[in-house]
Symmetry: C2
Subunit: 606 residues, 2 copies
């Protein structure tokens, strides 16, 4: 066990939970009637404890020891084993999953907060749980009762783990080109059982020694199926065969042929897997043939939201390291009095500016993500079907934004933390550099930022004839309209109004470009449109929170703990609007140029 | 020897040299009269060869093997030894230093280009040469004739290496607080010899086995000297004592007590050094007592320019990896025809956008840095004293801009290259992830980006009553005024005009803030002012180059090698103005908010 560097405080998380989100609404649902708000805050307290005592202390061990592949078996960093055992023993694997098969049954928003805490403490280790639950959810949603009994309890308990197997050496972003194939296995006596053959690459947690078995959720093409994504089917492919009664059978001819040597997430095994190299691999078809892509998108969307959360959680951990260091490290006199004594660097304006980036960014993304998980709870449990549909559509709109925006912004914030620490930030004694290394992959996997931007523009903007996007922007406009005369935050509301209008203008122009047959102008700017939307929605969250904090301030002493926290929330919202949200205007000027230089330039000029 | 990943092409370098910079002027100087432009381009060709055959092949070895400290001796990665020997054997250590002591006597601008190539191929290894030459230049400029004979030839040849020893555990950005001390050593029989005692940290190349000796240039306080930077003196402190005749004496009680474990630059030993722990360390005073800080600034400024060059050179290498990969990797059909065959990813708009960031950034910074080295040549060799002074002042203004802007922007570009490569960009088989890891330190050492911004605002803006800055901006305005009606680039000139005006407005407001006693508003925004200036000056360079390319285009076939190159330069300038320079406007909106939230927020709210 190494040093624990995880130092998350509970205050902002609990603010989101008890003052920002409408948790009463969730508590009114049948599914959550056995819970109270106190239960939820207690879960947060416990999860912070697990982060500090179980996951945080093996963060650096995981990075230093890394994963190894020997004799065909991948071993996780040895330090991970007791930590994983502790997660299993205390029911932390499946926090917001059905109690019917061993989950804790907590709302998704609580599961999300626990995930922030666990991933912020140890991204690599937590990934094994995230993928396991994601894979199990696919079986839960699309499998038969028999499938549930065969797999779920062992997965939700963490005894078995799971993966999603999409990527192949020649099919990354281009998943429709995958070559893995499936043929019916008449000998199996079960027409859902197929013989599987194929090679997958970059499979996170693809092989390891944490669980007794690994349940791969794998995309393959049934022989004779159409080309492209429409001919892809989804299979349950256990590493060790699972008999119908849930007992383990024989190894299923799944071989790990290599692990990647990466910049970060060393504790997470990234594997090349060979299925059926010796003709002995079987898989169980999940759902109907050729319906795999749509189903996998359910897990994909969960993982995308989870990826955004990873970006946020590492940024929040980076913020913790930076703010604590900045309070301790003494260097340089104040700029207002160069002859005075040296002061802790948190008193220097530029350090403060960087800390504000970290605070505003990590808290803003936290609120935005929590709001989205809350929507997923509404989408799953609200008695009103219309409400459910609306909540789901909005969550669908937000998912690519959160995936790309939080992974890219989160990465930049880990960089900012290194800069706050200076020379020691570049050294391995502090975890800042590891946070940055771990963070970089997030904008690549589960669909790169560009893939997210295309999803946003091509699939999510048109949702319900554009109404989902319009309603989302209308909410922002409504907020800024109501508070534009606020003596303290009115100016920031006006900035947000302008930024939202500029962001809306992107969408308007895109409609024109579609109609004019100029899709390249969309492709060239789509990632920036996504960033604009991410900033607008984050500003909205922070301003909503600041308005709540303003009210709170009226009722407490300025220098009380709550007073300081509320004042912090108000200043944080101001900071974000005045220093980060303004980037929208630069991107909007750029959009107005309708610049095509990147495609006009001859390819040979590169 | 590993795989070589260094793939720099000569075309843009030679364009800068033969078409952009006024090399005739340099060739007219006495010091360079034995050279021709052909000699210079030949040096570039040779340096590219060295990059590809000597330095590039040990890039990954250096990263994987790293430096080790055993029994008090630091060893560089074993693979570095033959490469260093090759540099020495072929006179590559002191490219633009005086032939009197073994340098090649080439102009600084050529030395800078060679440095781009060498650092782009292998930053860690090249650092040993950079620091050696920087330290030797201090001795050359401030030492006696006897000092020259005692040290220079062995340093310029690379037989001995050098360092700069400023930072102490408790004095980083705050160098005035250093505690290392010096007392006269009456036994030495030379009143320039002092006994040295102190501890230094983060000393790059502070100990290693590449050279036979290491000559430390060290800052210390002579006993009884005033506090702060005004009481600091500069000493030559050899690791092994050097007798007046240049022969080696006894070890000089300099002990390496530790090396840092860092995110990157693993081949560069970052050392903690203890001087005189056993009372046996002697140093030679360089120049007058208490004049050390000003002298060290000469080396510091060279290293700052060199650091900016590092940022640029790694960005350029990252660009090379990305553009070559993007031409080979096939994935996804074009957005204009989703049913077509898959294409190399360079044909996808967003990949192209990222490559344009890399191309515009690395070429723009290259031109800006080359211009600055050119100014240093003028400053050193022009027969006209006024010209020399003007050139030096402008280089002084540009130095902090280049240090901070190119290190921060360069880092972001290495990140962009990873994104182009996708999953493999995150893995160690390609060097993109190493470029990013290596790059991150550059914005920290030799003064952080904030220190550079303070230098720019506090020391460089006021130079010559503000005239240096004003003339620099006037040149930009002049360019944009002359070409605002250019049918192709006129719009970009207007964008640059607006951006320059906004940047000038920062400076104007700063004068107001100074007068109003509101320096905190300056401190909060200074790094962003520096970025604005960096972008404006880079846009200026790229537009100047585009105008030359436009002329060139008139004389060649569009699809000839030159035609493609020139078209590329024109599109690159457009791209930079329309997509990157526009960030100035966001920062300017932010400035206009006069936001103080970062200092108004209570410290306990962090």
């Amino acid at each position: 066990m190494g040093v624990n560097y995880f130092q998350r405080e509970d205050r902002d998380l609990k603010f989101v939970l008890t003052q920002y989100l409408d948790m009463d609404r969730l508590l009114s649902y049948q599914a959550y009637q056995d819970f109270s708000l106190d239960d939820f805050t207690m879960v947060i307290d416990e999860a912070i404890k697990v982060g500090k005592e179980v996951l945080g202390p093996v963060l650096q061990d995981g990075d230093r020891q890394g994963c190894t592949l020997e004799d065909g078996l991948v071993r996780v960093p040895p330090a991970f084993h007791p930590a994983w055992q502790a997660l299993k023993d205390n029911g932390w694997i499946a926090v917001s999953n059905t109690p019917l098969y061993g989950g804790q049954g907590l709302p998704a928003v609580i599961g999300g907060m626990v995930a922030e805490l666990f991933m912020g403490a140890n991204l690599s280790l937590t990934s094994y749980a995230g993928l396991t639950v994601g894979a199990a959810r696919l079986i839960e949603n699309f499998g038969t009762e028999a499938d549930h009994r065969r797999f779920l309890e062992n997965m939700y308990s963490g005894r078995w783990c799971g993966t999603m197997c999409l990527t192949e050496p020649d099919a990354g972003s281009d998943v429709g080109w995958l070559r893995s194939k499936a043929v019916p296995d008449p000998e199996a006596g079960d027409d859902r059982v197929y013989k599987i053959e194929g090679v997958k690459r970059f499979i996170s947690c693809g092989d390891h020694d944490l669980g007794e078995n690994i349940i791969h959720l794998l995309l393959a093409r049934i022989e004779g199926a159409p080309a492209g994504t429409k001919g892809i089917s989804l299979f349950i492919v256990p590493k060790i065969w699972v008999n119908p009664d849930g007992s383990l059978g024989r190894p299923n001819d799944v071989i790990c042929t290599g692990i990647e040597h990466k910049m970060g997430v060393h504790g997470k095994a990234t594997c090349s897997l060979s299925f059926g190299e010796n003709g002995g691999c079987r898989g169980i078809l999940l759902g109907k043939p050729h319906s795999g892509m749509a189903k996998m998108f359910q897990m994909m969307n969960e993982e995308r939201l989870g990826s955004g959360l990873m970006g946020q959680s590492l940024a929040a951990s980076a913020y913790d390291v930076a703010r604590i260091y900045a309070k301790e490290r003494v260097q340089g006199p104040p700029i207002t009095d160069r002859k005075a004594d040296r002061v802790p660097i948190i008193q220097h304006e530029d350090v403060r500016r960087m800390l504000m980036n970290l605070k505003a960014g990590s808290e803003g993304m936290r609120g935005l993500i929590a709001k989205t998980f809350w929507l997923l709870d509404v989408a799953e449990h609200d008695p009103d079907q219309g409400e459910r549909a609306r909540a789901l559509a909005k969550a669908d709109l937000l998912t690519p934004v959160i995936k790309a925006y939080c992974s890219d912004f989160g990465f930049l914030l880990t960089r900012e933390a290194i800069q706050v620490l200076g020379g020691v930030g570049y050294c391995r004694e502090f975890p800042a550099e590891q946070y940055m290394r771990d963070s970089k992959i997030i904008s690549i996997w589960e669909g790169t930022s560009y893939i997210q931007a295309l999803d946003l523009v091509g699939r999510k903007l048109p949702l319900d004839g554009g109404r989902v996007f319009q309603e989302t922007m209308a909410e922002v406009m409504d907020l800024t309209g109501r508070h534009q005369d606020d003596p303290e935050l009115g100016g920031d509301c006006k900035l947000l109004f302008k930024a939202a209008r500029a962001t809306g203008d992107f969408a308007m122009r895109y409609m024109g470009y579609f109609q004019q047959g100029r899709p390249q102008l969309i492709a060239l700017t789509a990632t920036r449109f996504l960033e604009c939307l991410g900033e607008v929605l984050t500003a909205q969250v922070l301003l909503e929170q600041a308005l709540i904090a303003q009210e709170g301030l009226a009722a407490v002493a300025v220098d009380s703990g709550d007073g300081v926290f509320y004042r912090g929330k108000v200043e944080t919202a101001k900071y974000f609007c005045r220093n980060i949200l303004v980037n929208v205007f630069a991107r909007h000027v750029s959009l107005g140029q309708e610049d095509t230089s990147a495609i006009d330039i001859p390819e040979q000029a590169f």
